[in-house]
């Protein structure tokens, strides 16, 4: 059995204090996620360099919903039959960026509201050993 590993390389860490890996422009301070662009996304900035940086591990819910029906491929369901899961878009400070993710297993829309605090956790993405980031309500 292979070791659990991120489903995608370079988007997040999996240590005890896991974090999304964003990029930051050394010239204007703009953040970026996912860390895939080659240049600063600020149209007034010509920086061709973006530096990897861990993003805030906590944020506040911008909005949320759930998936009561199984999404189509390339989505891979964690269980068969399909079990609904929740999704949250979370605003991080000081990055001032909103990032989408599934909500941690065991939590649903009833545990959320716009403005609620959540924390980043790493969980298996599906039945495989692949890992992904999720948002866990802090229960404020």
């Amino acid at each position: 059995m292979t070791e659990a590993a991120p489903v995608i390389d370079g988007w997040f860490t999996t240590d005890s204090q896991p974090a999304l890996i964003g990029r930051r422009c050394p010239e204007c301070g703009t953040y970026q996620f996912p860390p895939t662009g080659e240049w600063c996304p600020n149209p007034a900035c010509l920086s061709a360099v973006m530096v990897d940086t861990p993003l805030s591990r906590r944020g506040r819910v911008w909005s949320y919903t759930d998936a009561q029906y199984k999404p189509p491929p390339p989505f891979v369901a964690a269980t068969e039959p399909f079990e609904p899961f929740a999704i949250a878009a979370v605003e991080l400070r000081p990055e001032n960026i909103v990032i989408l993710g599934q909500v941690a297993s065991g939590y649903g829309v009833a545990d959320l509201h716009v403005g609620a605090e959540v924390e980043l956790v790493i969980e298996p993405i599906d039945g495989s050993r692949a890992l992904v980031w999720k948002w866990r309500p802090c229960g404020d």
Partner: protein, 395 residues
């Protein structure tokens, strides 16, 4: 203000699931529009297709596919893709060519077939494709985004799912007498509330289906339209703007927004900026509108559009709805066609179909769904990846 061009012909293939190829749908719509305009295909000197990415190579080159199916006539050709904004991008290509003096008569066609269920990425593994990744990493379907937008209305403005259902009831009633609509039947608030939740807080009847369908328009200069005796309906503006950095509203299909850490978000968000650009180009404002066709991908999203096109202040859309202002007979009917609620979405055709509806309304040909004395109409929507889509027409 920009010089207007004329809409001299409009046509559709009814929306639904008819089992035909997208080319067949497009041809029906194109021939209907040509007939309506009273011009021969051989006189068309520019043909533009709204691209479909779900119908093989013929869909990628929709403009030339339609030109060939109608019979090669040597016309100039273009194919435009802009996701749900593809139809207005195609209209803009035609309008621009006419305004440049390079085209006398233009035909714009959008046609699609769509599979049942969630819209999904094309086959293959693409770890650098944002649209593929949102399904693979998160399972975030289109309705999931609609659900998040709807939830914000609830948590920020106190909207209730019953408000959303009321949009469906209204649009279903509007579409009752639309021969091109796929669903023609009353829907009650109870039926909406009894339908299963798809993406909380939205239920099945809050979310538009996907359909097969086609729409076409024939455009010309005002001079040509006058010569043909068809100068009644004019396109006054087309807005195909992109967002301004930082775009801080999470837009379908993105996993993240821009960061506003270094530059403050613009005063006006992306959706309102789409309409603003069109109003400016047309030299009119929200108060001048007789009707609007907005993209009700979900019932709640229609309410967002009320605010984004300036019919009311943010948070006031439910009030407008309850007052009956946006119902046929009200101050500013929205989606008199029945909207996507009655059509289901056919991606590259829908924005063109919106323009067809406004044209019929401005001509007074909308039958039982006619907005009395319609003078100015607006169509609006937004395509994946920052595509604004807004057309303003007037008599």
């Amino acid at each position: 203000m920009t010089e207007p061009v004329a809409v001299i012909g409009v046509g559709m293939h009814p929306w639904g699931k008819w089992g035909r190829n997208f080319v067949g749908y497009g041809l029906t719509a194109a021939r209907a529009a040509l007939d309506d305009a009273g011009v021969a295909w051989s006189d068309i000197d520019f043909v533009v297709g709204g691209e479909t990415v779900r119908n093989g190579y013929g869909g990628y080159v929709a403009g030339s596919t339609m030109a060939r199916a109608l019979g090669w006539n040597g016309a100039r050709v273009a194919t435009c893709y802009a996701a749900c904004a593809s139809g207005s991008a195609a209209i803009e290509a035609a309008r621009t060519r006419i305004l440049a003096g390079l085209c006398d008569l233009a035909l714009v066609v959008g046609a699609d077939t769509t599979p049942k269920g969630f819209l999904a990425p094309n086959a293959g593994e693409r770890w650098d494709d944002p649209d593929w990744l949102r399904f693979r990493l998160i399972g975030a379907t289109n309705p999931a985004f609609f659900g998040m937008y709807a939830r914000r209305r609830m948590d920020l403005y106190g909207a209730d799912p019953a408000d959303f259902a009321m949009v469906k009831v209204k649009n279903a009633r509007h579409g009752l007498h639309n021969p091109n609509a796929r669903y023609r039947g009353e829907v009650t608030a109870e039926e909406v509330a009894a339908s299963p939740v798809v993406c909380d807080p939205l239920r099945l009847l809050d979310i538009c289906a996907t359909s097969d369908g086609a729409a076409a328009v024939v455009l010309s200069s005002i001079d040509t339209a006058r010569r043909l005796g068809r100068g009644d309906v004019r396109i006054r503006a087309v807005s195909t703007v992109t967002p301004r950095f930082p775009n801080t509203a999470l837009d379908l299909p993105d996993i993240a927004t821009d960061s506003a850490a270094s530059v403050a978000a613009p005063d006006q968000g992306f959706r309102p900026s789409i309409a603003s650009a069109a109003y400016e180009e047309a030299g009119v404002g929200p108060d001048d509108l007789s009707l609007a066709e907005v993209y009700d991908l979900s019932t709640a999203l229609e309410l967002d559009w009320y605010e984004d096109i300036g019919l009311c202040a943010p948070g006031e859309a439910e009030k407008l709805l309850h007052a009956g202002d946006t119902t046929l007979g009200g101050r500013i009917p929205v989606n008199p066609s029945g909207g996507l609620a009655c059509f289901g979405e056919a991606v590259p055709a829908q924005a063109i179909a919106q323009v067809c509806e406004v044209t019929w309304q401005l001509r007074g040909q909308a039958g039982a769904r006619q907005v009395e004395g319609a003078q100015v109409g607006l169509t609006i929507n937004q395509g994946l990846f920052g595509h604004g889509s807004c057309v303003i027409l007037s008599r």
